[in-house]
């Protein structure tokens, strides 16, 4: 049946898109005719998918990711592929091989990352909703920096089939939109069991946001306002938390000691997995062809040097080192233990409270080039990585501004309680509106 199509000719002045589809097909369903942007690490049949990396230039997947299939089935128009940090490795979208995206709230600043293109496309008014992916904060950080809403679902609620892996055990595809309602709507389409993903949970998502949070217990771990959190950001977020209190939630301060090792555990785990995931780009089956004058190893080594950006190579090497014989016990095994401590901490906290609240990011959006050394960049992920380590859902919702730059409030929930974090975010959104 020939579908209808829409016209899509945006003024992409923030460089949110790597590829724009001007006459996309659409159909009937829950997302009928709605333009949806897709992060470029999610496979789209017949549409080039590069993860913003030169090593995948020209790669056209012969299949759709499960989430893309579902979005198409519900009538949405896929209007393009959005910019990102190469393979999702970054917090600013500066690590795209094709140039950085700008923050619509302040074009001299980064949109956050790695789903910076998706966030900027929404914040810039080009699309109402988009898909991002979140390995250590990559949906929530740009949502916070650009002033939109982004949900990292419970690990397993959204199929990863077709998501080009960076760190399999941590990442989830998730919805991003201007409002909680639209995030909820997109989540309803993409979530659900997928037999092709062995880590998929059989847990349908059918939900209407409910702003009634009377009696809901919200924990605020001290560590969420620890060292490195800009006091101005902290103050805006505390104001936000008091909005929740006004809506009837009970606010309880608590502790989360496992945070001390969370960031190190996160970076060891994601680089280890990445070092293995990124080994397949050898130019044999796809991607720019290998140099046939050289031997396999010569050609492979050079392809990886030329095809990957500096940060990607650094993470591959870090992960290789963390898994290498003699160091596995010191790094990878310890990181998994630290990860279990984070899980255990959440499990303990969620026996006492229904959700946790705090800032999404320690600061507002950086200026371009502001974070030049990798470690200080990594440190800015401290508040978002715990949810990925444990696999729990977390949402970032705009909660005010510092010097005209958006600040995000992060609500983290118990496993499978994506609906509850959506409700709390919705209550907050409603509570702030005049």
């Amino acid at each position: 049946m020939p579908g209808r199509s829409i016209e899509f000719h945006p003024d992409d002045r923030f460089f949110a898109f790597l590829r724009i589809i001007h006459n996309p097909q659409c159909g009937e369903g829950k997302l009928a005719g709605i333009p949806v942007a897709i992060k470029d690490n999610i496979s789209t049949e017949g549409i080039e998918t590069t993860c913003a990396s030169r090593i995948l230039a020209g790669y056209v997947p012969p299949y759709d990711a499960t989430v893309v299939e579902r979005i198409r089935r519900e009538g949405a128009a896929i209007v393009g592929k959005t910019n990102m940090d190469e393979f999702g490795m970054g917090t600013t979208t500066e690590n795209s091989a094709f140039g950085p995206t700008r923050n619509p709230a302040d074009p001299s600043r980064v949109p956050g990352g790695s789903s910076g293109g998706s966030a900027a496309a929404i914040a810039g008014g080009l699309v109402p909703m988009a898909l991002g992916t979140d390995t250590g904060g990559s949906i929530r950080c740009p949502a916070a920096f650009c002033g939109i809403v982004g949900l990292k679902p419970t690990y397993g609620r959204v199929s990863r089939y077709g998501l080009i892996a960076y760190a399999n055990s941590l990442e989830q595809i998730g919805p991003m939109a201007g409002t909680v309602t639209d995030v909820n709507r997109l989540m309803g389409v993409i979530a659900g069991y997928d037999p092709r993903d062995s880590t998929s949970l059989d847990m349908p998502f059918r939900h209407e946001p409910d702003p009634d949070i009377r009696g809901v217990k919200i924990g605020v771990p001290e560590e969420f306002f620890g060292e490195g959190v800009d006091p101005r950001v902290a103050s805006v977020v505390w104001d936000g938390i008091s909005v929740l209190e006004k809506k009837g939630a009970e606010i309880i301060t608590c502790r989360m000691p496992s945070m001390a090792c969370a960031l190190a555990a996160y970076y060891v785990t994601c680089t280890s997995e990445a070092s293995s995931n990124l080994a397949r780009f050898d130019g044999v089956r796809y991607g720019p062809a290998a140099d046939s004058k050289k031997t396999w190893h010569e050609s492979f080594q050079e392809r990886r040097r030329e095809g990957f950006g500096e940060e990607v190579r650094r993470r591959i090497m870090l992960g290789t080192f963390a898994l290498s014989s003699g160091y596995y016990g010191k790094y990878y095994a310890k990181a998994q233990a630290a990860r279990n401590n984070v899980r255990a901490d959440f499990a303990r906290l969620f026996r006492e409270v229904d959700a946790l609240a705090g800032p999404t990011m320690p600061t507002v959006a950086f200026r371009f080039g502001e974070k030049s050394d990798p470690l200080s960049m990594y440190l800015s992920d401290i508040l978002t990585v715990p949810a990925n380590l444990a696999g729990v859902p977390a949402i970032s919702v705009p909660c005010g501004k510092v010097e005209n730059l958006p600040v995000g409030l992060q609500i983290t929930g118990c496993w499978m309680e994506d609906e509850r974090v959506i409700d709390i975010a919705y209550a907050f959104e409603q509570g702030r509106s005049p």
Partner: protein, 479 residues
């Protein structure tokens, strides 16, 4: 100088689909890369999902080898870079294999022997490479991923084998066991591949890789034992290394690779969940295995242990034997015929029992037993049929063959004129007066000579006993 051998056996499991995707495993004779999908091509974003049947087959093997199945096992990534790998790593099992600590009893060099099995684990087969541009300096490599993802089990033994011959016997027993379990098709090329660790006691151990046929194992190991012994005799040190078996030349060569110290950076496969299958393993019922069948053959069919061992050493032959009519199964003649003649003729032609229409052989045995064809005639028919199968893939029926070659046993009844045996005997007597005279002088050998002449004239279609009787009748009648 004691020889110490341990084996790693890779066996393709005969499932309908690959280990981690739904692509068909039946790709032989199909064009390259026609049995692939995003998963087994390693396309970005694809995810593996474990084939239940492959786990069940692996558990059957674990059970037959008396292994322990731990509470939990898991898949791991083995990271290395080579174009036959679709993902830059192989999904295998590392420190938490499916099964551990088993054994297989064999008829060893010094009688009954228990060979310990260290572990049984599952993994995916890599793709197939074709090196182009000459063996010495290949210019490029062609890659076919049809084989990529075929389920394999790797069976690792303790270093319990003491000679190449014992290693071959072990492999024969292992192969038979895998066939009995119905998890493996030995006819598929490369379905059984072996790496061997071999050392002379007190020296370093050498790994021989790339033994792609179970027949090659004894050859490769014999070569390696001689090489290592000679080196030690000459006072050289054996270096710990990996060598490759070059089947065509029957030698092993040093791989001289730079990547001597491979660091595979194993870690748990994050895209798969662990297996907790020990309860499932308990429920699995395995069929009768070679040893049990051998005992039953000795007991029920009155066979010698040697015949019983041969007949049960290959599942297809054992199955064939049991389709024979009951009275044939208990006859020593039948056992000899199948175990020695049939297998001998197959071996001579390098053919497998799978190639031949078994119904025909059953018929030959039945005609032979009923006296419709002599022993010699039956062999002639067998050879003719096997040659036909080898050449054309099919053959005529035994009856037609007997008819065509005139191998029908000649009767000695007198109705309808003199029978061919009597005429031939009469001719032989006439043509050989010297022998007749010798016989009359009492020389036994003379009769044998005359029998031979008659057999020649009747082209082996007369029964020797008939010829004897007719000759004696004729010779005594002449007195």
């Amino acid at each position: 100088m004691t020889v110490i051998i341990g084996l790693e056996i890779h066996c393709q499991l005969d499932t309908a689909t690959k280990l981690f995707c739904g692509c068909s495993t039946d790709y032989r004779d199909d064009s390259p890369n026609s049995h692939t999908c995003p998963v087994c091509l390693g396309l970005p974003g694809s995810l593996p999902k474990i084939n239940k049947k492959a786990v069940e087959y692996a558990l059957r093997v674990a059970k037959a080898l008396h292994c322990e199945v731990p509470q939990e096992s898991e898949f791991a990534r083995k990271n290395y870079f080579y174009p036959d790998l679709n993902k830059g790593f192989q999904i295998t099992q590392y420190d938490r294999p499916l099964a551990v600590s088993g054994h297989l009893d064999i008829d060893g060099d010094d009688g009954e022997k228990r060979v310990r099995i260290t572990r049984v684990h599952m993994e995916e087969d890599p793709g197939r490479l074709v090196h182009k541009g000459g063996a010495d300096r290949p210019r490029y490599t062609l890659v076919d991923y049809n084989r990529a993802g075929i389920p394999l089990i790797e069976i690792v033994t303790e270093p319990d084998l003491r000679s190449p011959k014992e290693a071959r016997k072990f492999l024969n027993k292992m192969r038979a066991t895998l066939e009995y379990l119905g998890v493996f098709d030995s006819e598929k090329e490369g379905s059984l591949r072996v790496d061997a660790n071999i050392s002379i006691q007190g020296s370093e151990r050498v790994e021989v890789k790339n033994i792609t046929s179970y027949k090659g194992v004894e050859k490769a190991l014999t070569f390696e034992v001689t090489r290592q012994r000679n080196a030690i005799r000459r006072g050289q040190k054996i270096v710990r290394e990996t060598r490759h078996f070059v089947e065509a030349r029957g030698v092993t060569t040093s791989s001289r690779s730079k990547e001597m110290e491979q660091d595979y950076r194993y870690f748990p496969e994050p895209d798969l969940r662990p297996l907790r299958v020990c309860d499932w393993a308990d429920e699995i019922v395995i069929p009768e295995l070679p040893d049990a069948r051998k005992s039953r053959f000795i007991q029920d069919y009155n066979l010698s242990p040697t015949h019983a061992a041969t007949l049960t050493g290959d599942w297809q032959i054992a199955e064939f034997y049991e389709t024979l009519p009951p009275d044939l199964r208990t006859s020593t003649g039948t056992a000899t015929w199948v175990a020695d003649t049939l297998l001998g003729e197959l071996n001579y032609r390098d053919m497998s029992i799978r190639h031949v229409p078994l119904q025909h052989f059953k018929e030959i045995l039945i005609i032979r037993e009923s006296g419709g064809v002599t022993d010699k005639g039956a062999v002639e028919v067998l050879r003719a049929l096997l040659d036909q199968v080898k050449e054309t893939g099919s053959c005529e029926s035994p009856g037609a063959c007997i008819e065509r070659l005139g191998l029908k046993v000649l009767g000695t009844s007198e109705q309808g004129g003199e029978n061919p045996v009597t005429s031939a005997a009469r001719e032989a007597i006439e043509e050989n007066p010297q022998a007749v005279e010798d016989f009359r002088k009492g020389r036994k050998e003379a009769l044998n000579f005359l029998v031979g002449q008659v057999m020649k004239k009747t082209r082996g279609c007369a029964k020797p006993a008939d010829v004897n009787r007719v000759l004696i009748d004729l010779l005594s009648g002449e007195v």
